[in-house]
């Protein structure tokens, strides 16, 4: 199942499900890249509220998405990471130091509004 992407004004909002596979993560990257061009989006929110496992592949995929969208002129912010997932990421040795994160969708939208002057 593809990750649903919602267009909301200048932004795209992708909502990741708990059972996201590796190939769905790759497809999300490609879908976002294409839609940024189609909709001339200036920001992307990736909502991982329901994602219950962030392993090294998923983390790498999100980092790649964040870097690629930035090169296409859109900021990406990852929102909704659960505390257990954050703990597991730290234990695993993963970091998101070069990826914008926010507590939830509301904070993510506020972050993008500041960055884009929207």
């Amino acid at each position: 199942m593809a990750v649903p992407i919602l267009k909301q004004g200048d932004y795209l909002i992708a909502t990741i499900q708990s059972a996201m596979t590796d190939s769905e993560a790759v497809r999300l990257r490609d879908d976002l890249m294409r839609q940024i061009g189609v909709y001339r989006s200036r920001g992307v929110i990736v909502d991982i509220t329901t994602l219950d496992v962030m392993d090294s592949f998923a983390a790498r995929s999100l980092r790649t998405i964040a870097h690629m969208t930035q090169l296409r002129g859109a900021d990406t912010v990852v929102v909704g990471m659960q505390p257990e997932v954050a703990f597991a990421m730290v234990q695993l040795g993963l970091d998101f130091e070069d990826v914008h994160t926010a507590l939830d969708l509301e904070e993510g939208l506020a972050f993008l509004d500041v960055g884009t002057g929207g």
Binding site: V53, A59, A88
Partner: protein
């Protein structure tokens, strides 16, 4: 140490099987009344070793079971493949060493998430990872 009768065997060939394996691990942890954090650590570790089976092992299986010892129980994960094997195990256990397309955190990362972790590998035969998460009752 006696084995609990219930064990779950998940054949691993595709990335969808990785998700199935980690969800099964989470279910087992929840049945054992593990905390949400422990369930997440276990599921994440399973995800890493199951991915190794898909990426490097050319398929294999993950077997989950509950192990009882005096006053303690563990969830044991045995992840095995019949792939090419790992020629340099100590190197594979180093952070950042990768021959696939990952971050090289798979095996060393899984070790940090679990209480016990052993990996055995023979070139041309395959690789087996055994890891356990112990919890007192």
């Amino acid at each position: 140490m006696t084995d609990s009768p219930e064990s779950i065997r998940i054949p691993i060939t595709t990335d969808a099987d990785i998700v199935l394996a980690r969800q099964s691990g989470r279910d087992m942890a929840e049945q054992m009344d593990c905390s949400a954090t422990d369930a997440t650590l276990l599921a994440t570790a399973i995800s890493e070793v199951a991915r190794n089976i898909v990426t490097h092992g050319g398929g294999g299986e993950v077997v989950l079971r509950v192990v009882d010892a005096e006053g303690e129980r563990a969830i044991e994960v045995v992840a095995s493949d019949r792939g090419p094997g790992i020629a340099d195990l100590s190197r594979a256990m180093q952070d950042g060493y990768s021959t696939g397309n990952g971050l090289g955190l798979g095996l060393p990362g899984a070790r940090r998430l679990m209480d016990e972790f052993e990996v055995t590998s023979e070139v041309g035969v395959g690789t087996t990872v055994v890891m356990r998460m112990w919890r007192s009752r």
